[in-house]
Amino acid sequence: MAGKPSYNLPIGPIHPALKEPINFTLRMSGEVVQEVDFAPGRAHRGIEWMGMRRNPVQILHLCDRICGICGAAHALAFAQAVEQIGAVEVPDRAYYIRTIVAEFERIQSHLLWAGVAAHELGFDTLFHLAWQVREESVDIIEYITGNRINYGIIMIGGTRRDITPDMVPRIEQALKYYEDIFAKMGNLFLNDKTIQMRCRNTGILSRQRALELATVGPTARASGLKMDVRKDSPYAAYGDLDFDVILPDVYGQETVGDVYDRIVVRLFEIPQSINIIRQCLSQMPEGPVLAEEKYAKILSGLKKASGEAFGRVEAPRGEDLHHVRMNGKQEAPEMWKVKASTYSNQMAWVDILRGEQIADIPIIVASIDPCMSCTDRVALVRQDGDAGIITKEQLHRLSVGKTRRMQA
């Protein structure tokens, strides 16, 4: 690359949709990324600070709103921590309902991601198909919880709604729908020549680096790191159920740790979720779903509780960790630390973007499922001070253009 001018390519900051919107600065040599730097925190809302001034039931509703997609995961992790501190006896049936909601959340999140990935590659028919298919899971979440997002179904000591026997056929219908469409989706994503060309050997993260950088979830699993909180430290009903951790070799190919493997892992987690929900529906014990219906009683019990614990949940994007410490003197926790899954995965960008082309940035950035589109506004700054702005639209067009060239 000697002789080519090197310049900085800043991407972002943007999109206040997430806890961690990002500002990238990429050191470029021609078309190739040399160094990567990023600055998150552009929409840090101070949720932990707010939580340390609120009572646990109020925090639960803040948890729903940490992320619009992983609403149940954060609430589950927080409830898990608080229930340990207060030694709350959650009814068994509630654990199963929590699991069902969490798995439908995984289906909708993975399909949302699949659509975004297809869009970044310029495969917009597939993007529309994936999002159309996703609707069914969002509808079923609304059917169970009453809300499409911010479900508000998790409560300390159980869940706020039950799944009654007359609801089971509708849920079964949704599972059948996904089973039927999975072969088609799998074929479109995994056997399409263009997707293979763009995603194979792109943005590789080795198993060793995945471990050292403390990555989580599908990003870690795509690199061959067998790690899934549902299996490692079971919570809710996962300890009762029979399922395997999805690794890229499930598709019968060697693990590379590239973007393609991340597609494989996420896609095959959809039938896994269907299987888990089926097991939950058939094994669900009878009984109440909430340990205590009166919030005031829950709160007065928790006010006296002291101790610390953490809850860990496998959100669609990876591990969520909530650390809570309560001192028995006040309603609000003394400490509440939230660790979302993207928090752990962002360090991987530095590795997987290095050596790649500008046109591959959108799909690689999206491949860890950061739940944001960081490429709203891109400015190209050359070292001699020559400046131009690339919009998200233009960067997207660069990516689509590369697809077209490869197809030609």
Partner: protein, 215 residues
Amino acid sequence: MRATKTPQQVADHFTSRFGGQVTNVRVVEWGEGAKKVPKRSVWMTIPRETIVDAVRELTTIDFPHLGVISAVDTGDQIELLYHMQVFFGGDHEEIEITFTVPVPKNDPHIPTISGIIPGAVYTEREKQDMIGVIVDGIPDNRRIFLPADFPENVYPWRKDEKGIPDTMIKELWKVDRPQGRPSPAVKVVEKPDPAGTDAESPARQEQPASSGGEQ
């Protein structure tokens, strides 16, 4: 499959290796679901002089996954909690390990563990932002979540005079529009010159010299 240990064995390993430096050892089990399959955790308090050795010792057992470093303001000191997991990848075999490291507020230094776990830089930077510890030897010393114009010496998680002052959160209606903000880095070029002359050259001259090439 890797050789795994029980939580008690892990705890004993650390007490025999570091002796009296390891205190408050707790082994906790918590089960959910109908079968109550336990998730197991070990908690121990470790002095800050030993934390790097303790993490290195943990890598000899199994390379840990660092969940996060949490931090609590307990009055005279700050407690940092290193949440890590070992033995993942099996069937309910994981052990969650938490090192609690007290750091006095009048000397809030802690050595970095990023030499062993490179991914720790992210969460160590957050601790510098949020609770005002100083991580010695951190390879990247910049702020991470707080904005560049956030005041120095204010740490949101502190519960003392260095926490968020009321002036930053109360009676915000008194606050006028922000003053003295830097102007946008790039000025919008009005319209390309239809005559075909170089429309970019005026924009280039208006460009502040400092905006390019910063890392």
